[in-house]
Symmetry: C2
Subunit: 494 residues, 2 copies
């Protein structure tokens, strides 16, 4: 393993983020929130540290399999370390751990917050918060569609052949092409949402912040009351539509733009995703109406559809306090929390394609009991799912449960009650945002003990990196044959 | 499928139970509880109905694969229908649904009760309650070691070769031998516990009822305060030891008696089971001590070990209200609820061997990411686990989650709160007994709405039959080619 490569890539990432840190300055100056200096200092710190790292580390000629895991894991940890600076320097979040939590929640597009009132941040920091979502979302699309499949992780291996991305066992050449195409779609949708939200009465600042948070399925809002604070059905429905789009596989969007409607319509995962969201919306709409939570079916549809898609796509925006809904609605939402968006979207969770394949696999096992000698293959979109992919997906569920149980044991071990503790883990591991009870839609993560915050931060990264990436890093075998990095001042050797 | 065979076997089962229904009469008469007539009427009803069924149905020459599923499923439903009669006829449980719930809870060795105070039943009915556990436990041992493997279900396929049971694809010839050996062990342990409990100060009635409930990992006690009502550390520890024995694979006990200690000591599932129980006991003991729930480590060990083994083996006896313990203890217990005893024991849950193999499978998936080309086999006790067995086990977890989610949605849909509803499903699906909150250790299932009770009853059966057995019955393909039964009065045709 070449630590030099890892250092160099991380350095460049910090330099890139330092440029991004200059963007909020415009809003800080325009709104006179007095935080412009915070971004300048943060940017300079990031640029000098990152530049030094990038300059001094000698990268290898290509990025191998092993370096890939370390880079992907380290990228998020380093990004949040720099991204936390503005919150901390401004004094808005006095604890660096809390600031790190907020920044990680941004970059992993989780949307959990430690702030009781987000308005205290002021426009500059609120924009930075939204921007961390948007940049994180960009990273995730490339990660899930171009990088993870090469590392052998994630449902997207299935689509590898159709993708404009790389098909060989090394990261690099065609990732840039893939990224350019997908980011084009991402930017286009963001612009579209900004325009529609402004037409519905939002100002530019709110529109861009909410669009960033929607497309990244992040969930940070500029208001403590989240999207509910705007009180506009039109805004609600516009955001629902863009949440649904953000939870879709971005390579499908690419196909849509190329006019390949047939492939999109036939896509099994898409049908499953839309069917599940629609089914859950109908169930919860009816229950909320019958239990008199809302006066009319229309009102019930508005609030039920918003919370369902917000949770299912793991965005985490809120327009209603679903913690006050009846038990079946809350339990349905907790179930949706585990499922999440489609593979190759910015959404978190276990992912639709995995759930779909679990289900097919289970049905096959039942049929096998009736016809023990029948050999049946699991198919997706008419093609056979390779056994290794199926195994990787089955192992994922198992690993998921292990991480969930261990994390919840640590959090509840610090005295957090069961419902708060378990849903805090679910909300971060699936990159959603709010949980139930003490971390419910109208609550925040401020009261969680420090060690538990660290665990939840790791959950955010683990969920975002589809668990395996982080799991690999803790296996001793992975580190075998690791050399110390070669530094530039030692001269090039070998 | 031969419905005649199914009818005949069910008929014989009812006749057998009618004989068992005569046993409580002794206690009823001795203690003058006035319920002797109840057992006579119930026994006569069962014998006449069962006899008629057995006489009139023409069985096929052998019991095939398909009939096996239906018989196994129907046996429990029919047994509970008859077993509920004494509760109902005596007037102790005025609702037949509640009586059916209590009987099913008995036969499936679940131990959940709808009674606020069990003492109102009187000795005769209390003995019957314990006897349903014991008979159910007998059925389960044979089911899991001899019948399910033939149907292709359950972790026990793995041990098939070593078992004295059948190895061919038809139920029948050697099942009787297996049953005789295993029941011998079962009876021996029961007698052993009765004697030890009596030596510790219990009277014969309490000793036999508690021994029945322990060996079956059932959990019905003769007191509302459960084993805690006796307030004796000695009794607590004796029951802990027999719970541990009851949660072990009964074929291991058979080997122990044959002097084959080596095989027992080397058994990986046994090590995993004992390790998990010991680890959980230590964790909860320390937390309970540090949080001042108990004054001394010794006291904490006594109550922690009892609740841990009671939950892990899915017995469900209680000596402490664990709903008052700290969140991490409660969450740890909920986790143990899912795991359960060893395969081939009377315990419920997902079973130790499945959890162990999940874990091995997951580790293998992680190692594969580091060495993508390495081909590795999963081994248990030094032997390769066949791919089909591994798949069946993986599908089991998936099916388990589906059943858990659907059942909890229905229960919470009737207004039961999330923690009560979800743990009620967990407690019945894993055949444990108590859950948390509204169905916690000091509560009961009386307040659960009727439809939810039906769902929980189905959960008990589904959990007991390792899900697949019931799942198969709801697949339309299973019913293809089913003829109407041939009745004796139509004469033998074909």
């Amino acid at each position: 393993m070449k630590l030099g490569t890892i250092g160099a890539v991380t350095g460049w990432l910090l330099v890139f983020l330092s440029v991004a840190l200059l963007l909020p300055i415009g809003f800080s100056l325009y709104y006179h929130d007095g935080n412009a200096w915070v971004f300048i200092v943060s940017s300079l710190s990031g640029a000098s540290l990152g530049g030094l790292l990038a300059w001094s580390c000698l990268p290898g000629r290509e990025i191998g399999h092993r370096e890939g895991f370390a880079i992907v894991g380290l990228a998020w940890l380093a990004a949040a370390a720099l991204g936390a600076l503005p919150y901390y320097l401004s004094g808005a979040i006095p604890s660096y751990l809390d600031a790190y939590f907020e920044a990680m929640s941004g970059f992993t597009t989780t949307g959990s917050t430690i702030l009781e009132r987000v308005e205290i941040l002021g426009p500059g920091l609120l924009f930075w918060r939204a921007l961390t979502h948007w940049l994180g979302g960009m990273g995730i699309i490339v990660l899930s569609i171009a990088i993870l499949p090469v590392l052998g992780i994630g449902g997207m291996q299935l689509f590898q052949a159709e993708m404009p991305g790389p098909t060989k066992d090394r990261l690099a050449p065609r990732i840039q092409d893939t990224a350019r195409i997908l980011w084009g779609v991402y930017v286009l949708y963001t612009l579209g949402e900004v325009i529609l939200l402004m037409l519905s009465g939002m100002d530019f600042f709110d529109a861009i912040c909410h669009s960033f948070a929607t497309l990244a399925t992040g969930g940070f809002s500029t208001r403590t009351a989240s999207v509910g604070g705007f009180g506009s059905p039109l805004i609600d429905y516009i955001i629902v539509i863009f949440m649904i789009l953000a939870g879709m596989n971005f390579s499908l969007h690419h196909r849509l733009f190329k006019g390949d409607f047939k492939a999109v319509i036939k896509n099994e995962e898409l049908k499953f995703y839309l069917g599940m969201g629609t089914g859950a919306t109908l169930l919860i709409m009816v229950v909320n109406y019958l239990s008199h939570t809302y006066g009319s079916l229309g009102e019930s549809l508005r609030f039920s559809s918003f919370q369902v898609w917000s949770i299912l796509t793991t965005t985490g925006f809120g327009t209603a306090d679903f913690d006050k809904w009846s038990p079946v609605c809350r339990f349905a939402l907790v179930t949706l929390m585990f499922i999440g968006g489609m593979a190759g979207s910015t959404g978190g969770g276990i992912k639709q394609v995995r759930i779909l394949l679990f289900w097919k696999f289970t049905r096959m096992q039942i049929r096998k009991l009736i016809h023990p000698r029948a050999v049946e293959a699991i198919k997706l979109d008419g093609r056979r799912v390779p056994a290794e992919v199926m195994q990787s997906i089955l192992g994922y569920l198992s690993l998921y449960l292990v991480v969930f149980v261990v994390a919840t044991l640590i959090v509840t071990g610090q005295g957090v009650d069961i419902l708060t503790g378990s849903t805090a883990v679910i909300a971060t591991l699936n990159n959603i945002g709010p949980g139930l009870a003490g971390v419910g839609a109208t609550q925040n993560f401020a009261g969680i003990p420090a060690l538990s915050k660290v665990v939840l931060i790791l959950c955010m990264v683990a969920g975002r990196l589809e668990l395996y990436t982080l799991a690999v890093l803790v296996v001793p075998e992975y580190w075998k044959g690791t050399d110390l990095p070669r530094w530039r001042w030692q001269g090039r050797r070998g």
